[in-house]
Symmetry: C2
Subunit: 217 residues, 2 copies
């Protein structure tokens, strides 16, 4: 087993990013309700966050608040989307059209404002040429680099068995996909020029077990 | 849309839990290699962690190190498993035998040391009575409480569409399942007596977009 750094996100801390994702959701909900301005206290209270933390997170990236007014909902939403690179649609491709890949391709979570799943890639001839339930085409993995010439992908998702994960990462990096989200049950090392985020689903189960144990269960 | 707290884990902070999961993985790897003792520096170096952080995380829960020796690998592994409630097998049931539910049931991440996926539950008569690829039985969701009388479940995973998530949570809580891991694209509120962890897969995509944006992509 290769001993290497467990890949921790570099750059923006994940906790900051997650909190800003929550703020963005909050702003979307407020905008939908016709609310024009909001204080960090109101935002924090409605979404169970810490107002000082919200101000601190935002202050790292610029001057967003208006003294005596708080935040202007529409303007902050626009700035936040821009900051997070969500002012344009991020193209997602998924390697692996098995249960997980197809679940992700069809998931509402992967088809929200700002993201579009363009294609699934697989090596199984019985799947290639087909579509997922919601119509995402399943393409031949061997054509990844060639097909991505037309449709530049921002994020490549790895949803293959452990054995295929490194090869999938190599192909995605070779096709100049700048970010990889790996769900395979093996850690993919950082690849030059590509940001890799490994998601270990076991962590969720272990965290729940831990939470139960501290409660004596 | 109900405005409520976004469900943040209470109790053990998730970051602590995740770091201890990493430490546990590290100890397993060291044990497999016949290593008997390790310092927090060695542990940290091999797994890309901060040694002071490892000591601090562990110190919250007891006295694990031996002065001049560091940590005894086997003893620390045993204590850590006990602390995290992993000294026994946690029984997992999954509500929803669609692509996501079946992917999770068959995933290596969900079938590691300490966890066992006992059953999938669904409402689709064409699926009930069948099995996932690795042989996890698919049972009738209507029989959840009754079947869990025999096999006490520790963790209930929700892998249904948004519309079914609250009902799935209600059924799991009604069957006295103490922890819920929700992958449905809607936040499930905390249920009395049950610990709920909502996983929003959009966060991963938003985080990657953010990481790309700070790199000018």
């Amino acid at each position: 087993m290769p001993e290497k750094k467990w890949d921790r996100p570099q750059g923006v801390p994940e906790a900051t990013s997650e909190r800003l994702s929550l703020v963005l959701r909050g702003l979307r909900a407020l905008e939908a309700q016709g609310v024009h301005t909001v204080s960090s206290f109101q935002l924090a209270e409605r979404f169970g966050m810490n107002p000082a933390q919200i101000r601190k997170d935002l202050a790292q990236f610029g001057e967003f608040g208006v003294r005596g007014v708080g935040y202007r909902v529409a303007a902050l939403k626009t700035k936040l989307k821009e900051l997070m690179g969500l002012e344009r649609t991020r193209v997602v491709v998924i390697v692996g059209a098995g249960n997980l890949g197809q679940a992700l391709a069809d998931s509402r979570n992967f088809n929200v404002d700002g993201f579009k799943v363009a294609a699934l890639y697989d090596i199984d001839g019985r799947k290639i040429g087909g579509k997922s339930r919601t119509g995402v085409p399943i393409l031949d993995l061997a054509t990844l680099a060639a097909t991505l010439d037309d449709c530049r992908a921002d994020i490549g998702v790895i949803a293959v068995p452990a054995e295929g994960a490194l090869e999938a990462a190599r192909l995605l990096a070779g096709a100049a996909v700048p970010a990889i989200l790996n769900f395979a049950p093996v850690s993919v090392p950082a690849v030059e020029g590509t940001f890799v985020r490994n998601v270990d689903l076991t962590f969720f189960l272990e965290n729940l077990s831990f939470q139960l144990a501290v409660r004596g269960r």
